[in-house]
Symmetry: D2
């Protein structure tokens, strides 16, 4: 496993293909630093013996100890450890650990390549497993590029006016393929080693060229990352973890990009477009059952802390609202546990979480994220967004004023009160706050996407059979399918 | 294990101490039949080899095969099987299988008697286990009587104007005790073999006489069951399971009732009042993670069926609403799974579900039950409550009219359409419907009770520590308590 | 204006064409009495000088003082008085005063007949106004029959397998027409003097025969009322208004029914099908801004009373929940006021409420009705549905028990406590409760119907113009249409 | 009335007592410009003949035509015009017009000064009306400073460790008073001409020195404005109104500030502390029934526009969500109309809105503001927060990429699509967005404050009387108080 320093050093060697605010910049641009700090956390924790078996795992390919973010889960226990890893790491970086994207991409590709090989006799799986061996050995952080620019949303890829609205194959050569198009809303691309590309939707035969999956280094020739970093206003004096972390979203432009054949994992198998798209999405929704409890924990903790600062921590309406965070976060976590237990072994050997449970967990969070912010700011009060800038607390005529007046709870020092309010402001009234709200709705698929999956996966005829039995329309009720299924044994 | 017929035959031998609508009646009163049919289901299923290991279990006392409703769960797997048993049986009786009350009472008593013995050197546990041996061997159905009449809710038991507002000890003799008071809202008492009495709340030293727990046959001397049965209008021709099932709620009056010492399981240990009250409540809340998914399934099935009858089953707003049932029911089920996995072994050997997960699961259902009925009737339309009586479909001038006009979906016969609407009416516009709504809010404790438990159980300081770490108030964050805990291995 | 006794006497003279539970019965059947009592209230209040100008009005046709339920509103003030009349009367009968249906039908017919005449040179308006003169002079109570049986909901009337799925013209004669079909979910038909029939939906040219409106006495030849009465269990001793009131819903079968020409108000004008359907629906939605605040008041009052009985009236969570009723009921009432002020004078002289405000008011109530019942039963506790029958309080061994134990608040007598809980049971756990829940969702059109109307009526382009102006896409913003409109002056 | 230019010119003459980010700055600081632009809009509109009678009014003091923001409403019509004025102006500045604060302060002071004079024979009212004459003639923009820093929230003002936690009188002289303390979360102070100070809460006799109200120029001696401006990232090329507007919140420190007697409007009358605090709050809550519909309109318009950009405008779930904005915004507007009609004439002649309706309107908005943002971003998609910076669209290698890929709806140009997304980002993912969310919860008082007022104002005994009548506990029901009240006639 790499040290955090090795990760950063590798990043700095990369070609300058990142664009921010009209400039081409290197990976050492200060605006990328908050995202890099998040990623470093995943390397630090893996070296911490306290978290052995949580952040680390034994590779199913090599038997070596690897960072769990590069691991293919093999059983329910692995999925439950993945949840814990994400919750743990997410807590420490303020909510989104990002690196699970790459893990969900390798999970999806491991399953789909195997299934395509079984169906068509192709050789994707072996090719992908070779790639994965390197991915694990070099301890890569991968970004997954799924969402296309999409153009007119009422049209399929091949019907678009601009054929580049979805990433597609423009040429197939003996040693590789050439692709064009753009992916959008891609988190962490400029701080990743690798970019893994998968389709974003179901495809028809006419969309054949859009059925393409591959992996490339993030600084590969002919790709541009047009990046929008997000972070909070840097602290002058009151340094803290929350203020140092952030994200960077990118439009990734593939401008006739050549992909070597050993890194191509789908090439025209349009029948598997939807399968691969959903494998990534559903694995990622499972990941949310780890990170979103962390987001609820953070919001809950900030709310409880600001209630203490306001000296209203014991008020019954405050207590009631605090318990809502537990309701949301732990229900999502429980959904993940159930998804792990009721998951299934795929033909590739990768163990995949149950779709119903993954999707209800993710949907719950997506439906409640704005409400959770609402609780925080309702308890915190208007000061969340009217707090003077840090400098006014530090210097000049206003320093004394603010130190005097910021204090509410006599047991909390002015500095701690200031730190508390500054955290609330950073969380609730900053561009990071907006990012968490909107990513909370859309990351991994918005609630309407989960509803669609739930409607596909739920056996409503079985539910109707219950009603038919109770109504006397049917004489018998067979529930063996639902209730005789046994959870798979789990254990360390 | 008894046959359903033996159970009914035993009931009929009982002393007539049931009062309904101003009369004293026997257990063969037709208004008690719907409750008896529910109870019979638990005996029938136990004899069905399909459900071996689900409805049956191996006794931890004797090693014999017993009905799981009389079993003390010993491990996570047992808890998960209990969830399944309840979901399965509840589905078949239209929602509430009732007999779990007794199981939750024996669970609570097994744990509390052991803990009292450990604390005070009493002999309750052995006494209770003797009782339980008979309970299992005779395959009893037990009702749990917890909720007292309570009198003035702003006062403690000993402060009440009427000391009988809570059941209490009025005399202690060498061979037993005498108790007085009344319990209210006690489900299934007149169809039970036994009544198990536990305290309803935390007690102070002055409430010593209110710290009392015991078990008696349901027709014991000096107790009166003032019973309110609930069922739907009996069918003349369109017989069906839903219309045959029902419940019966009772006020149970203890009128200087003598309890033999071998059936007394708490006698003055006021310090354990709250513990025993919560052991029953929390075990029962876990039971709801089995039955409430069944309620959601039934409501979902009825909604899907009536949507088919209306020929609007594919409409997108219908599909979206159907998926809400999955969200609610399966999240509660997942909470139960997590409660099982993160449960704990008590000193008595009984395995007890995790409190956080049990309570968030129960609360979710309590908060959503009215909304679920709303979905059903919104999709069903006004006919749910305006459907002419069954007789008008069966005879005279109106038979032809209604057979003609009831038909909407050409693929569904008039009779099936009628059966479908009749089921919807029975579910949503009947006294059973009201019972399910209100029991859905209050059974096992209303949402506010779960919120109180959640606030007691949640370590908000740990949440604040997250915020303090992110804010830079604390330099370190210790998450080992939360995230290093390992689920207990499960398996058949 | 008629006295209540004259109204009842007129009813009793009617032909026996009502069917309940397989029998043909007269208007003196005891199961119809609860509906008759509701209707009588509207006659009683009109004779009470306290409510002059509220329940009475000056006819715009004759200048005579008439019952306002037979009046065509002429200005905003009239609409506001109509709201008050409905709120007042609804409060006294427990929630639904029913007679507004007839008023909304005459409003709709007054407007649509005029517009049809203007468009086609027909003579409906004069014919209808002649009818209305009699309606006012004889002080009739009218039921409006709108909702058809509908058959397959995915098909238009003329596409149905059974052409009778919607009421339609089967023959046109010189002196009248013959109609066939059935209307469903028609409130109050057997306690009405007259039935006014209007179309239920938009029609196409091929649906021409379904464009039909007319009025007939409720006991007219060849119509059958298949009636489902709803009421609560009759009281033996604790008589009270709530327990005496109820409703009766009917399927009305038109079996080749002849309608004399002077009572035909639409005959083939399919282009006006939707207009007439919506005129009734929207007028009725406005009526809900009067009755639904009454429903909220009743639920609020019952909740506050039971909180007093539980002696928890000052608890903060109780107070918070009580205020929700105010939020819902008064917002709906305010929507009615705004609908009155922003209403418009139609060509017929009838003043019609604003559609946006009528629909948002009705939708708010439809979306919250189940939640309001939930508040009541959450505060009331399980006793709402487990209260023993009245007889057990009145006689025998159980009388003393229940009188003793029903008491909670020392300041409330046992009888008053019993009356309070009995009211809660009647409201929340009875077939009337179910009726109010489902009528609350569907009466006047369910929330989805209001959403459709709102989407038709809202000028979303105007909203987009705001965004375009703020985004710099458009340079100007014209708001004169929205904000220069002036409310019409109002006053007594 | 002043021109916008005169307003700005007057501002620039002010003493430099504004502090931003550690510096003392003049009113010409660029970070104050967004707030100044908002304020200018109120002057521009008043000179526009289109809005005569809406933005202008005839002074009740002088009969002169004045800006309505400086006017005391005299009747319901005035209140309804005030609502329109605010809705109109708020729409044009992106949501908060700010200047209503000053109007609500003069309303509150006009009423309270009269009532204090009536009670104590003081001379505040005449003094205040003299001040108001100048306020109207010089067409001032006033900020209202109400919220104190508050210190320990569990303690009253006189109990605080630091007596300055609330602004208070430290010395009374013959020609004026000296005050100390700080107000927080004061919007628009650095762009106002005047600051009007009122108490923030109910006071006891020991809090006498905290009963103080006065007005001073915003640059008065010994006051410091520690200001936090909020605005969106300035546009380089795609200029637009939304991006130019903003706010500035201040902590206002009163450091032994002398207030001349002719500007002191309360001095020790602690009995009126609560009255004056609520007069301002409730008048301001009424103002929200004007501005919050504008916020809903803007969010609705942006959602509809981005749905058009995504070419999903006709999708049924989009339509349904759009209608929610109408439900929220127009219900709040209707609450304002009802508040105007049911308002009351105070002894001062000022017409004051009804408290129930003002508070339910404001609460509705406060409870829904986060949900409304959620709708916008759910429809808009992740691009709301991942849109590359403006510069990347304007220059270099990325210009072509982004112009090509930003296009979705073929009927919308790349620039318009970019403008649309940029607006969505500005609204939903910026510090202004956070400001609108949090101000939406807290401005004028958070939902819990409205609930408290509703519980004080609602006559729950009257509601209980309804229940008692229906239950037969009371024989009569007197509704004359509620339903005989007549709305005051309105008209231009």
């Amino acid at each position: 496993m790499r040290t955090p320093e090795e990760y950063v050093s590798d990043l700095k060697k990369m070609r300058k293909n990142v664009y921010v605010g009209g400039e081409r910049v290197g990976r050492d641009d200060s605006r990328l630093m908050p995202g890099i700090k998040v990623m470093k956390t995943t390397f630090e924790l893996a070296l911490n013996p306290d978290w052995e078996g949580v952040i680390t795992a034994q590779s199913s390919l090599t038997g070596n100890t690897i960072n769990r973010f590069t691991h293919l889960p093999q059983n329910p226990w692995d999925l439950m450890q993945k949840q814990k890893m994400i919750r743990l790491a997410a807590t420490r970086v303020g909510g989104c650990i990002q690196r699970c994207m790459g893990q969900d991409a390798i999970v999806a590709l491991s399953v789909a390549t195997k299934e395509m090989d079984e169906e068509y006799g192709t050789e994707y799986h072996g090719r992908f497993m070779n790639y994965l061996r390197e991915y694990q050995e070099r301890d890569w952080a991968g970004a997954c590029a799924q969402t296309d620019m999409k153009g007119d949303r009422s049209k399929r890829p091949h019907e678009q006016e601009d054929p580049d609205a979805y990433v597609h194959i423009v040429e197939e050569k003996s040693d590789g393929i050439v692709v064009r198009g753009a992916k959008v809303s891609i988190t962490m691309a400029p701080v990743a080693d690798e970019i893994l590309v998968v389709p974003t939707r179901a495809l028809t035969e006419k969309d054949r060229d859009y059925a393409v999956a591959f992996a490339i280094p993030a600084d590969w020739e002919s790709i541009r990352l047009i990046t929008r970093p997000a972070f909070v206003r840097a602290r002058k004096k009151l340094k803290c973890p929350y203020a140092e972390m952030g994200v960077a979203e990118s439009v990734i432009v593939f401008d006739n990009t050549f992909i070597p054949m050993e890194r191509v994992f789908m090439c025209g198998e349009w029948q598997f477009g939807r399968r691969l798209a959903l494998l990534f999405a559903d694995s990622h929704r499972f990941s949310y059952t780890g990170c979103k409890p962390a987001v609820s924990d953070i919001l809950c903790g900030a709310t409880a802390l600001v209630a203490e600062a306001n000296n209203i921590e014991r008020a019954s309406h405050v207590r009631e609202k605090l318990s809502e965070f537990i309701g949301i976060g732990e229900l999502a976590y429980a959904a993940g546990i159930a998804a792990a237990l009721y998951g299934e072994k795929t033909s590739s050997g990768t163990f995949f979480p149950n779709l119903i449970y993954s999707n209800i967990g993710r949907r719950l969070m997506g439906e409640n994220i704005y409400h959770e912010f609402n609780i925080l700011t309702e308890i915190a009060g208007g000061l969340s967004v009217t707090l003077p800038y840090e400098d006014d607390f530090l210097t000049g005529e206003t320093k004394k004023d603010l130190e005097k007046y910021i204090k509410r709870n006599p047991k909390m020092s002015s500095e701690d009160a200031h730190r508390c309010w500054r955290l609330v402001e950073n969380i609730a009234a900053s561009s990071m706050g907006s990012w968490y709200q909107i990513a909370g709705v859309h990351g991994g698929g918005s609630p309407i996407m989960e509803t669609i999956t739930l409607n596909l996966e739920t056996d409503y005829e079985a539910k109707k059979n219950i009603a038919k039995y109770l109504a006397g329309i049917n004489k018998e009720l067979d529930q063996s399918k639902d209730l005789k299924a046994k959870p798979v044994p789990v254990g360390p």
